[in-house]
Symmetry: C2
């Protein structure tokens, strides 16, 4: 059997590959939350504190797109995985694999963009590695970052409980549709920009405002994948109100044109959380007070049961299912 593109899309097919191959390590836990949890990061007891550790490789194409670039994604992706675990980002590693012939001025722009994103969240790149491959052995550049952070109280993706209120921190589908429309050269009047940004300051404010039971960032596989993972791992049902979902008009138009569900495409600067109902308003207000959270909304509730159900604006119901694979490859 061969690896195929669906295996890398973060959906159901990827889960098969994980189960059969990539989680077969017998040495998979360092005492806290390990690989077996398949959460956004691991937690390691260290010096009496919760060390959070995570990694992501970034292969987005094109390297520069409306709203961001591979450098900004490389920092934000890993910072956001730390933030989803409730962790303040401390330090990142940066390992680049570069194709021979790559333009050094482009590399300088990427490094400057990474540095800017670091400044937005208080993290630093403290260690690195660089490999150069012969022409044709890598398409341009791939950037891996790993990150370490500290969590006062780690937040999981598997701890939704019935009664929780579901909040999303802003409009859904911006990153995936920005990449797609930019690639296709669509002119939709308003250019769709990626939402790529480090979320820690927003998450920090939300954590201070109330009790967040579970968090996840809807990256590969989009909102559909994230909310299904949260529901399934928590053993609950989630009910989402369609009319409450914040989606930009331009993203809706582009989605219709391309026949892609905006709930299925990646976001790079959004968080989905389940919060204690009595704290929902305070947490929503805290998120909205941050520039990255001004479109935040309460979009649903958690019930006993299974599945994620969309309550449509005309009174119908249908399942939100995790996409089999991401409709947009090379998105992050």
């Amino acid at each position: 059997m061969k690896v195929n593109l669906m295996h890398g899309a973060g959906g159901a097919v990827f889960s098969e590959l994980l189960g059969e191959t990539l989680t077969k390590y017998t040495h998979n836990n360092a005492g806290g939350i390990g690989l077996e949890a398949l959460d956004d990061g691991a937690v390691i007891p260290f010096g009496g504190q919760n060390l959070v550790f995570t990694t992501d490789s970034h292969v987005v194409k094109p390297l520069f797109f409306p709203g961001g670039d591979i450098g900004r994604i490389a920092v934000s992706g890993t910072v956001n995985d730390l933030a989803m675990m409730g962790a303040r980002p401390i330090a990142l590693s940066c390992a680049m694999i570069i194709e021979e012939g790559f333009d050094i001025d482009v590399l300088k722009k990427i490094v400057a963009s990474m540095d800017e994103a670091l400044g937005e969240c208080g993290a630093a790149i403290v260690t690195g590695d660089t490999k150069v491959l012969e022409r044709g052995a890598i398409d341009g550049i791939a950037i891996n970052t790993a990150g370490v952070g500290v969590a006062e109280k780690p937040v999981r993706d598997c701890s939704l409980v019935p009664g929780d209120v579901i909040i999303v921190s802003g409009t859904i589908g911006d990153h995936g549709m920005a990449i797609m429309t930019h690639r296709e050269g669509f002119d939709l009047g308003e250019q769709i920009r990626s939402d790529v940004a480090p979320l820690w300051p927003l998450v920090e404010a939300a954590l201070a405002a109330g009790d967040i039971h579970a968090m996840k960032d809807p990256t590969r596989g989009g909102f559909s994948n994230a909310i299904n993972e949260m529901a399934e791992k928590s053993g609950v049902q989630v009910r989402i109100k369609e009319e409450s979902l914040p989606i930009r008009r331009s993203v809706k138009s582009a989605s219709d044109l391309l026949g892609i569900n905006p709930l299925d495409v990646a976001n790079e600067g959004k968080v989905v959380m389940g919060v204690a109902p009595e704290d929902a308003d305070a947490i929503l207000a805290a998120i909205r007070s941050h520039p990255l959270g001004k479109d935040a909304a309460i979009i649903g509730v958690v019930k006993e049961g299974t599945s994620v159900i969309l309550e449509t604006s005309i009174g119908g119901e249908r399942f939100i299912e995790a996409p089999i694979g991401d409709p947009v490859p090379r998105v992050c």
Copy 2:
């Protein structure tokens, strides 16, 4: 200006790229030893302890070779960078970039090999990421690992002092020459095997035996590069006795055939250290008592001055210089 293969070889040309581009982050330190030190890893004060953090991407070709494979290198490379900082490895991340069409059975073998190497050093893979690229966008597979560990007393590569004794933990040049002769299909009677192995248990024994002032693993750029970096960063002269350098006969023969200096090629299971003279015998004995260290030897001394000087067996002297680039690409 374009990136070329020499930029990835860990030698002098690479240093230029680092200085001009890859170390331009203004956010480059989290309070301890940061990126600016260009040591084998960073040190971060965390919970009253020294958290050590490092990363390496692995692109070795072929994926399987005498003595090892890409999985074993991916674990050993990062564990050894931690060990060189005096750190016990705790946890690794594993991020794979895989080409569409890659054989899943080969992937399983790589994962099993990584797991075996983890078992040899007490570390665990606790978090990961997988990207699948379209055919032709990556040559097979690239594996990044980052690692976290804890150091009672961090060891630097820049703290040799005059009077120190230089020890190498075993034969030099095995990994690079194993890759090279395997690629070329040379039959030298005795097959050269890579030395790739996680060194923490050996280093732990050495640290317990005496005062190690500086350590480095001679990977890309080989012994020549490692010892020159140590001497230059420490502001000292190192004098090496040629007849004391442990080099296998088969490695010597292959080097002569290929016109490559065995001191210039990568090792993946060796450490070069500068130790207090009064502790040298005890440290050497501790290293030799480990199976990976049975060929360890005292090979030189540290003096006031600059440069690395080889004292030849016939009484001559010449410089050991850092190679401009690694003579063997895709070696790790």
